[in-house]
Amino acid sequence: MTPLGYLEAAGERAQAVLPLTWLTLAISIAVCIIIGILLWLGVRRAASNGGAAETRAIPIDRGSSGVRWIGIGIAISAVPLLVTLVWTMVALADVSGPPAHPGLTLDITAHQWWWEVRYDAAEPDHTFATANEIHIPVGERVLVRLHGGDVIHSFWVPKLTGKTDTIPGQTNLSWMQASRAGRYSGQCTEYCGLQHAHMAFEVIAEPPAQFEQWRAHQLAPAPRPATPEQTRGMSLVEYRCGACHQVRGTQAGALAAPDLTHLMSRRTIASGTLPTGPGTLAEWIEAPQALKPGNLMPNQNLPQQQLTDVLAYLETLK
């Protein structure tokens, strides 16, 4: 299992490049083997094996000029170079342009150290935001507008698309398409500070019907608390977490950190750092600085009762 390996592809854009990757890899390995053999056989012809005295014992000889061997070598090398050059230009034209009529448009902003994902729609009330988990319909070409939030990051889903940087002050375009359903790992690949290592995300490609279902669910606000415990939890979340996070349908409305409206529907928390679950959530809330040192969430040090209440509420955010 190699979630970030790029020698297999699951979508058009990655697929269009893969044969070129294999070609250049094959050329490279062949060149190393050929030169290695030539070198090895050349060295094996050694007249002697020793130090300075042995070296001096072999007389100097002008020998033949040998320049034609350089010519022959270059002529042979030119062929794979030319093929690669032409193929590169063709592949580049194939994959570089963003699709003219994308089935879905995403606005993705990279932050230290998480991914903000906004789903664009014609009607303003159909847009929503989530974090670190991107759902897309299988088969559709998805346009990805990449915005720089703070420092430079890079958006990469190896099985679907190569890297595009997110740079403050400019909007870069990327696109992807998944030919089959599945979970595809993504990762920030431009060094962005202390927690560059923990800046993963996932792209989940699902059949269009299922995707629409997911989308409708994400549009819904958070459910109302059903128990006194959850109610206390919600006010705590509004009061404390709401300084940075948003839970739609509540007073927590800040946009500085991941949207928590459907927190429990996502597979991981803290950008792939931990699997989502009551236990890991409790650990995270209490000591995010121990689990992901340097990230922007402070340790909460909640009294036990408050933590239980907060968890009781958060677990309803499915």
Binding site: R62, V151, P168
Partner: protein
């Protein structure tokens, strides 16, 4: 006045070498003992060895940093290092290896060797030479004071903004790095100017431009490039420091600055710099390998031209570091094509070396093994570079361990291996002692196997998607076993480097004595005793071919280069200046006396930079004043050099 005219129009006396003549030269050229000589010497050989020793010390520092990182990365989720520590380690490792080892080590060898290769008595500007070393040392110390006080660079050697800006990086780390790089740039610039003038003006009579060793071509080309690109990087770092300390907005997108401006300025410098730190090393192989193949290099002119061609093309490939930054496809395709085409001149060198090997009669020595193995490592580093030249492929490869593997094959394969080979080759010349051959074989095989064990698997972790610059990684990604192998390999490699150091210390104490020309090599440095006297050549040689010491055996016309009869030049510290292309003698060059001025100037500049770092302006001004005064003393016109005339009475 009368006397000066006499000197002006003097024609150098031609004569034969003699004991009295040598005694007179020694008297003129010998560095004074004690502190005076220590701080004041302008002998290029002393300066060269200082460069080499300092660079090897930094190599050891960078190596230790790498080993600590490899402990952290040996398995998933290790917690030996905090993210802060890891980030400073990988940034300092890159800075050390690229700026404080790879370039200075080559400057060291070139400094030591150039006048000896060219048949001259010193570099064109001996004091500038001393100055460029002192500045290198001072800026290296400056940067390491930062690192050791917990203020090392923490944004990689490439130092992208905005992460390097004050908003995200409030400590002194980036101030140390920015100012340190401007500081070091002074050394590289001074050194480059010196090499260029030395190459064009101080060659022995008859050593026309098509007869200079390839090492000289390499360093000359690299120096020309440095003069062009160092201003870009010094400017980039200076603007960063201004942004950080004075609130300018060069890189600040919120105020219409441009983060990508940094990347352009940095890589316009960065990529030519990569060639600058490999071309001289390739020159070492081009000059050293033929000696052990017992014949001249195949395709000298092609190799010399390809050296220059590589550099010219090297100016047009910087954007291949920026393929993922969202630049337009048309622009990318140009840089992609240039990056593929640059393979051609590199391939010329590879085929020339292979042809030399096949058409000669190789002798296997430790130096030969390092030079020959470099060919393979060069090819491996070259083909992986060729893969990253293809834009769509690079969009997958870039910023993964594949690139880490690539750049280490380039920097270790094409820099460290030739440098170690060069150490085995020229150590007898520098010290009069051989390095131990038997220990040398252990040295070679440990380094070669350790290196490949450490860096070959990195290609695979890269293809399996492992990103660069992560302080840890999760398990289940398919990288665990490979990373363990890499870490083991890196320690084996480190043992290999340690064996080199052991061999050096052992051989300095008890190595076999080396004659003037132990390898029966063809170039002029081998015509003088080992180690060479302070004045290098007792008489200035006259050269008629590329391989003056092989002329007797290879010359078809019967005309041979003269090394024991020539210009005596013993009326003062003198050498001969020749014309740039044909090297016909033009004038006698008076060489300056030793002086502590470059050292004092360096102290002044160091105070200035510490003042700027701490923003203690009186200190900065004091440093500037000391610097100005020492420049004044340094450049004060002297009558004996005819820089001024006696006052007309």
């Amino acid at each position: 006045m009368r006397e000066m005219r006499g000197v002006d129009f003097r024609t150098p006396t031609i004569g034969a070498d003699s004991v009295e003549h040598r005694a007179r030269l020694l008297d003129l050229w010998e560095t004074a003992p004690g502190l005076k000589g220590l701080l004041g010497t302008t002998d290029h050989k002393v300066i060269g060895i200082r460069y080499i020793v300092t660079a090897f010390v930094f190599l050891a520092c960078g190596g230790i940093e790498a080993l600590i990182m490899r402990l952290q990365l040996a398995g998933p989720n290790h917690t030996l290092l905090t993210p802060q520590q890891y980030d400073q380690l990988f940034s300092t490792h890159g800075m050390t290896m690229i700026f404080l080892y790879a370039s200075p080590i080559l400057s060291g060898f070139s400094n030591y060797l150039w006048p000896l290769l060219l048949g001259s008595r010193d570099m064109a500007f001996p004091r500038l030479n001393a100055f460029s070393y002192w500045i290198y040392l001072a800026s290296g110390i400056f940067l390491y004071v930062g690192f050791l006080s917990g203020n090392g660079p923490n944004d990689g050697w490439f130092n992208y903004v905005p992460y390097a800006s004050r908003d995200y990086n409030p400590g002194l780390n980036e101030d140390f790095y920015s100012l340190g790089m401007v500081f070091l740039g002074i050394s590289v610039t001074a050194g480059a100017a010196n090499f260029i003038v030395t190459a064009f003006r101080t060659r022995a009579p008859g050593m026309s431009i098509d007869r200079i060793p390839i090492l000289v071509w390499g360093t000359l080309t690299a120096s020309a490039a440095n003069l062009v690109v160092i201003p870009a990087v010094s400017l980039a770092f200076f603007l960063l420091w201004m942004d950080r300390q004075f609130g300018t907005h060069f890189y600040d997108s919120a105020n219409n600055g441009q983060p990508l401006l940094w990347q352009h300025l940095f890589w316009i410098f960065g990529h030519p710099w990569v060639y600058a730190i490999v071309l001289p090393a390739m020159g070492m192989v081009s000059d050293g390998l033929p000696v052990f193949c017992r014949r001249p290099l195949v395709g000298y002119s092609l190799v010399a031209l390809s050296t220059v061609a590589t550099m010219i093309l090297g100016f047009g490939v910087w954007v291949h570091h920026m393929f993922a930054t969202g630049l337009p496809g048309l622009g990318l395709s140009f840089f992609s094509a240039a990056s593929i085409v640059i393979v051609v001149p590199s391939a010329v060198a590879v085929f020339a070396w292979l042809a030399t090997l096949w058409l000669g009669r190789p002798v296997i020595t430790t130096a030969f093994l390092f030079f020959a193995s470099m060919i393979l490592l060069f090819v491996i580093g070259g083909v992986s570079g060729f893969m990253t030249a293809s834009v769509p492929v690079d969009w997958q490869l870039t910023d993964t361990y594949f690139v880490v593997a690539h750049l280490h094959y380039v920097l270790i394969g094409i820099n460290v291996f030739p440098v170690v080979g060069a150490t085995y080759f020229w150590f007898p010349k520098m010290t009069g002692k051989f390095l131990d051959e038997k220990l040398g074989r252990w040295n070679f095989w440990t380094m070669f196997l350790g290196f490949n064990l450490a860096f070959l698997p990195m290609h695979i972790t890269g293809l399996l998607g492992m990103p660069r610059r992560v302080y840890t990684y999760a398990d289940g990604m398919g990288w665990d076993t490979l990373n363990m192998i890499i870490s083991v390999g890196s320690f084996v490699f480190a043992v290999g480097v340690l064996l080199l150091f052991i061999n050096v210390f052992k051989s300095l104490r008890s190595g076999a004595a080396a004659p003037a020309n132990p390898w029966d090599a063809p170039t002029l440095e081998w015509s003088v005793p080992s180690p060479p006297p302070p004045y290098n050549f007792s008489v200035i040689p006259t050269v008629v071919s590329r391989h003056p010491l092989w002329d007797g055996r290879l010359s078809e016309s019967g005309i041979v280069s003269a090394v024991d009869r020539g210009m005596l030049l013993d009326q003062g510290k003198e050498t001969i200046a020749t014309s740039p292309m044909d090297a016909s003698p033009e004038m006698i060059m008076e060489m300056p006396e030793d002086t502590p001025a470059p050292f004092v100037l360096t102290v002044g500049i160091s105070i200035l930079f510490v003042g700027l770092l701490l923003k203690v302006w009186p200190l900065a001004i004091a440093g500037a004043v000391v610097s100005a005064l020492s420049i004044l003393v340094w450049l004060w016109p002297r009558r004996e050099l005819r820089e001024r005339e006696a006052a007309h009475g």
